[in-house]
């Protein structure tokens, strides 16, 4: 019996024929990438320029002691670089611990909820989400009563602030799977764990990444608020200290540092998502 299905194509045929039009796919792709990098840069330069020329200050009636000009912030960076670097470490360490811990906790709780009946699970997820309503200002002081170490006090607070988002997103991502795909898995009598690993988890990837991206913001904000309220070190403390003593340039240097950290984390996550899970971001292929 010979192959009815078309014979394997000659290997040479599988090699890409170069795009015949010069404005073809490769070029378009690159143009897109260039624009994606260029656009924020151009906007950045524009914003800084307008800021430095006091355009925003005039527009909104801001005082330069309240929102310092970029050159002053850069100066502050230079003047206080050592201090800012130390402060950054003091903020980033607990933020990171809280980020990892909070996301793990949120994910773990989502798994626990999946073990419950659906109705109850949904309610549990709403209860988890409600924890997000606890303002950091309320949580931090109580945690501070219990934990003496500044590092761990901040970390635990960040965990409490971070975990609800991951809980909600992960639970929803894992429960939103196609029922027939579930049937397929059940037909193999896949264990709960296998269904989780092979189906629910990959399916939840977009939602999980959304939670991760979002909690990068939360982790820094939470750590900073801890520092403003109770702990007295780190970037939050620098900001508070500078603001109260009218050293706004240093405060904004710290804010800029925070913003940069957030952006870097976000971009890292974006890259991990794009290259680690290309199928999750598949766009129209043409």
């Amino acid at each position: 019996m010979s192959a009815v299905v078309p014979p394997p194509a000659d290997p040479a045929a599988a090699i890409a024929t170069p795009a015949t039009r010069p404005g073809g796919r490769l070029f378009r792709l690159r143009a897109n990438h260039v624009r994606a990098v260029l656009a924020p840069l151009v906007l950045f330069v524009l914003v800084i320029w307008l800021w430095q020329s006091e355009f925003f200050h005039n527009l909104f009636g801001l005082e330069t002691f309240a929102v310092p000009l970029p050159d002053r912030i850069v100066e502050a960076f230079g003047d206080d670089s050592r201090r800012l670097r130390e402060a950054f470490g003091e903020t980033f360490a607990p933020a990171m611990i809280g980020f990892v811990g909070g996301n793990l906790l949120g994910f773990g709780l989502a798994l626990c909820l999946m073990a419950l009946p659906p109705g109850l699970g949904r309610r549990g997820s709403a209860l988890g989400a409600a924890v997000a309503a606890l303002p950091i200002m309320a949580v931090a002081p109580i945690v501070a009563l219990w934990i003496e170490s500044e590092l761990w006090f901040k970390s635990v607070t960040v965990i409490i602030i971070v975990f609800p988002s991951m809980l909600v997103y992960a639970y929803r991502g894992m429960t939103g799977v196609d029922p027939t795909a579930l049937e397929l898995m059940h037909s193999y009598r896949a264990s709960q764990w296998q269904v989780l690993r092979e189906l629910r988890l990959p399916h939840a990837i977009p939602q999980i990444f959304t939670a991760l991206k979002y909690t990068t913001v939360l982790m820094l904000v939470a750590a900073v608020i801890c520092e403003i309220l109770r702990a007295h070190n780190g970037l939050g403390y620098e900001i508070h200290d500078s603001l109260v003593s009218f050293g706004t340039a240093r405060a904004w240097a710290a804010v800029v540092l925070l913003g940069l950290t957030g952006i870097v984390m976000y971009v890292l996550l974006l890259l991990v998502e794009r290259f680690g899970f290309p199928w999750a971001l598949r766009q129209e292929q043409s």
């Binding site: 002691f65 003496e148 603001l243 109260v244 009218f246």
Partner: protein, 347 residues
């Protein structure tokens, strides 16, 4: 500063012990017809604001011809920044904050001094740290409520005792006595108008269970609470500021006369249930003590601008490096509106 002000110039810049009241006879009474004033409190409304709260609840501001909107503060509100940005017209803050703001270019003027002595006390509840005198601070974990550089009072005490900053461990803390009670620190600076009652409610007898160091007695106190006005507002509403002070003066005088009688006014402004009536009574009593008693033990009228005290305070702040350069107090401070307020009261 109030550059067009001539009456205050002399007294302020000489640094003599004259006070603003000396100009009272020459000042003219202000006339106000319902000017709006946004007045920022230094904290959540509490007994430290007694006079202002009384003026508000009893309509003294209205009687003086100004329409005052009292805005609460809190740990996340920085009154000097709010004032400098013009988000409020007048604000209550510590002298330290005002001088710092002015040094950084904020256009504000100091028009009244609420506290005539330093409200700070260094206390220990820890028997391992009997605070007989500043020398006892050696090796202690000392809390500081003020962000930024060290409290000038602490620095003064250490210097007096022949100690350096390396002999104590400084830990910044929030404006609450929980850290002290949680035994995380040995020595806490607390505010007489706020924390003494809290310690008493926590079961401590004062004095007795607690050792106290008083910066006033040790000669290291600095000026605290006072009132400042935004210069742009001041330029347009000179009379209104005087009228405000007139209303406030009446409020404080009422409180001094009958501390028990104004308790209701304070409780009305303070969030219900936050302080027991007993605590509030103690706080008012302590506040009035601060408002009327000078650091040297003499008595003072409310809101008096004691130039000697303010000059001395600036000197301490410079010493403690809270500020880098001295500020021209003649620029910062304007006693005229207070004088006119008194003239109004007199007429």
């Amino acid at each position: 500063g109030s550059s067009d002000d001539d009456s205050g110039d002399e007294s302020a810049s000489t640094g003599s012990s004259t006070t603003a009241s000396t100009t009272a006879e020459t000042a003219s009474a202000p006339v106000c017809r319902g000017d709006d004033i946004r007045f920022q409190l230094s904290f959540f409304p509490n007994a430290q604001h007694t006079g202002f709260l009384v003026a508000d609840s009893r309509g003294f501001y209205r009687d003086a011809g100004v329409n005052v909107k009292t805005i609460p503060g809190g740990p996340t509100v920085n009154p000097s920044l709010q004032l400098a940005q013009g988000n409020v017209d007048m604000a209550m803050m510590d002298f330290t904050e005002a001088i710092n703001a002015a040094a950084n270019g904020a256009e504000i003027t100091w028009v009244g001094q609420t506290y005539q002595s330093d409200p700070l006390r260094y206390v220990s509840i820890n028997r391992d740290f009997p605070l007989a005198g500043p020398e006892a601070l050696r090796g202690a974990v000392v809390g500081t409520q003020q962000v930024g550089e060290l409290e000038p009072e602490l620095r003064g005490m250490l210097t007096d005792a022949g100690l350096s900053i390396d002999d104590v461990r400084i830990e910044s803390i929030d404006p609450s006595i929980e850290t002290l009670l949680n035994r995380r620190i040995d020595v806490l600076p607390l505010q007489t108008f706020f924390h003494i009652s809290q310690l008493q409610e926590a079961g401590y007898r004062i004095p007795g269970d607690i050792d106290v160091l008083d910066p006033n007695e040790l000669g290291v106190g600095v000026a605290a609470n006072g009132v400042a006005v935004n210069n742009a507002f001041y330029a347009e509403h000179r009379d209104a500021v005087a009228c405000f002070l007139a209303g406030a003066l009446r409020g404080w005088e009422t409180a001094i006369e009958d501390p028990r009688g104004v308790q209701r006014d304070v409780e009305g402004a303070q969030e219900a249930g936050l302080a027991s009536p007993e605590a509030t009574a103690i706080n008012i009593e302590q506040t009035i003590d601060l408002v009327t008693r000078r650091a040297d033990g003499g008595t003072s009228e409310p809101l008096e601008l004691d130039m000697t005290y303010l000059d001395e305070s600036q000197r301490r702040l410079l010493e403690a490096r809270v500020i880098e350069e001295s500020v021209d107090l003649g620029e910062l401070i304007d006693p005229e509106p207070l004088a006119r307020a008194k003239a109004a009261a007199g007429s």
